[in-house]
Point group: C2
Chain length 351, copies 2
């Protein structure tokens, strides 16, 4: 499987509340009892982990749609593209080859697994909309089938053992990516983040820790893995996400009532610029796409396929642009191709 | 004739060099020997002046296409619209009714004449493109026919006598309105203005003295009315205007070569915003229209009728908007109707 061929199910924009809930994601940290954690493992240990996973693909028909990509065999741009797809971490992209790092992916783009990252296995399930329970059901099944063949590092008292103590227990992180432009415009987002933090949740930008909320996309996830059960965590985040979604919707109506024309103007301008610009940075593109997404949701703009809007979030990023053009591009060239890509995407796609 | 029905020949965008030379304009200041200047005239004198002009309309078939509008019979918005059309001065709009002020206009919108402004008569000829000599020919003919019936205040030594000494002599002011976006972008315009000033020319914005160069439109006109003949003044300004036009064209090519993509981007964005905005100030609209005009001239944008672009310069102004909607509008309402007008104008009009 080539990096550019990897599909991502969540981009289809299906699932409940997919207007505001762009995606739901669960990841499980797992380690193999037989090997030391990757940070202290020898080369032969790391090879052993990959070998065990590779062998699985033939052991159980469940794994038929999956394949393994070795990071060391990929170009720098391909690895960056995997980060842009949220399939591997930046650390895995940069240091994965030294650790004999790999990625397990499947055709449908729902399940994936980093191999030899911080933990031996980092399983991930990614769905569109707000459907953490469904993501949990899918990843739990995967995890159970894996467990039939693999001996996990597990402690009766602490649960799953992980390289970093913050993941010990369930090893689960559940997160929802929410598109919150109205809360941002109305300057309510700071208060929302504060409240979420009091509830034990973390709020991050599109590309994880330390990245700003580019394009008004916020990831909400749990901080704690020790104590509550998987179902409790999933249920809690889903409920809280629903409340945030509701607040975003109310705020949209409020802005529409108070400053409807300004809002419409700003949305139509964003649309007009995306359809006509010849150069555009990814930051500006994300800001304008955020407005367009809101405009479509609110019925201000003509319907644009959500799949197309989601895909652009990924396709306009540097590595994806370079992968699609087939060569390295300077930042200015990227701005040009990004604008070309967005224009052609919009011109072909109005309904 | 109603104010909204007054056509303006120069808006058609015809004439030599009409890409950059938006219009050519000549005005002559004239006074009637039999009456004191308007500033010191009695009501009966001012009435006398208007009466003489009114009578002319029947005396000579040349004046058949002309009619007289009394400023006192017009609404404030109608008077402002006449200012926006460059047919009367702001002073004439504000104080004209007190002075029994009037406007003589003709169907084709080439010739017009303010009556009882600073001088008894201010004749004006307005053509599209760079054609001051032709404007001079037309206005000279008008002036000669007028002179057959009217006894001008004329002095053998000084020439035509005027209310303000700066107009004594020929009473002629010739001006060319140039669209100079490239010289502005390249920050060369300051030097150009300085040079023109050394040559005895004045540079003003679209709406005369003290107005900035809104939409990169600059009016170049003579300062001196005493000394050189009419033909010399007209010839000098025409030649200098040609040199400025050439410099603008060279600068456009230069920018296209050095920063072509940035220029294209900025032009296409302007076009995209004008086609999609729901609210727009007249200042922003003029800036964007300037880019679009340049983009069309340079073949970057699809052809847009120059008549349409010229008309928008006038139609988007406050009084014209209110006249076309038929009621007074708040500034925010104007921004809305202005955006609506521009959108419909662009959507209907791509070739």
């Amino acid at each position: 499987m080539k990096v550019e061929d990897i599909k991502l199910e969540w981009l289809k924009g299906k699932g409940p509340n997919s207007n505001i809930a762009v995606s739901s994601r669960i990841r499980l940290a797992r380690n193999l009892k037989a090997y030391p954690f990757p940070s202290v493992a020898k080369r032969s240990d790391l090879e052993g982990v990959v070998k065990e996973i590779r062998e699985l693909l033939h052991k159980d028909p469940y794994f038929k749609p999956f394949s393994v990509l070795m990071l060391g065999e990929l170009s720098q741009i391909e690895r960056e593209a995997l980060v842009e797809k949220h399939l591997i971490s930046p650390d895995h992209a940069n240091n994965g080859d030294k650790r004999y790092g790999a990625l397990l992916v499947e055709e449908e783009g729902v399940l994936s697994m980093m191999i030899n990252e911080e933990d031996h296995l980092r399983i991930q399930c990614f769905l569109g909309g707000l459907q953490l329970s469904e993501a949990w059901r899918i990843i739990d099944q995967f995890d159970s089938i894996l467990e039939k063949y693999i001996d996990y590092a597990f402690d009766e008292e602490f649960g799953y053992l992980t390289s970093c103590p913050t993941n010990v227990g369930t090893g689960l992180r559940a997160s929802v990516m929410l598109h919150l432009p109205a809360l941002t415009i109305a300057k309510k987002i700071g208060r929302v983040i504060e409240e979420l933090s009091k509830l034990g949740l973390t709020v991050r930008g599109l590309y994880g820790e330390g990245t700003g909320a580019i394009g008004n996309l916020y990831q909400i996830s749990n901080q704690i893995t020790l104590g509550p059960s998987e179902e409790e965590v999933v249920d809690k985040i889903e409920k809280i996400a629903l409340r945030v979604i509701e607040e975003e919707e109310l705020t949209r109506k409020h802005i529409l009532k108070l400053k409807g024309l300004e809002l419409e103007d700003s949305i139509w301008r964003a649309y007009g610029i995306l359809k006509h610009a010849r150069l555009i940075s990814s930051k500006e593109a994300m800001e304008l796409l955020s407005k367009v997404r809101m405009g479509v949701d609110m019925g201000i703009l003509p319907a644009i396929d959500k799949n197309k809007l989601n895909e652009l979030i990924i396709k306009i990023r540097p590595a994806h642009l370079q992968l699609s053009i087939g060569k390295e591009l300077s930042p200015e060239e990227r701005d040009k191709f990004r604008a070309d890509l967005i224009r052609s995407s919009f011109t072909g796609g109005e309904k």
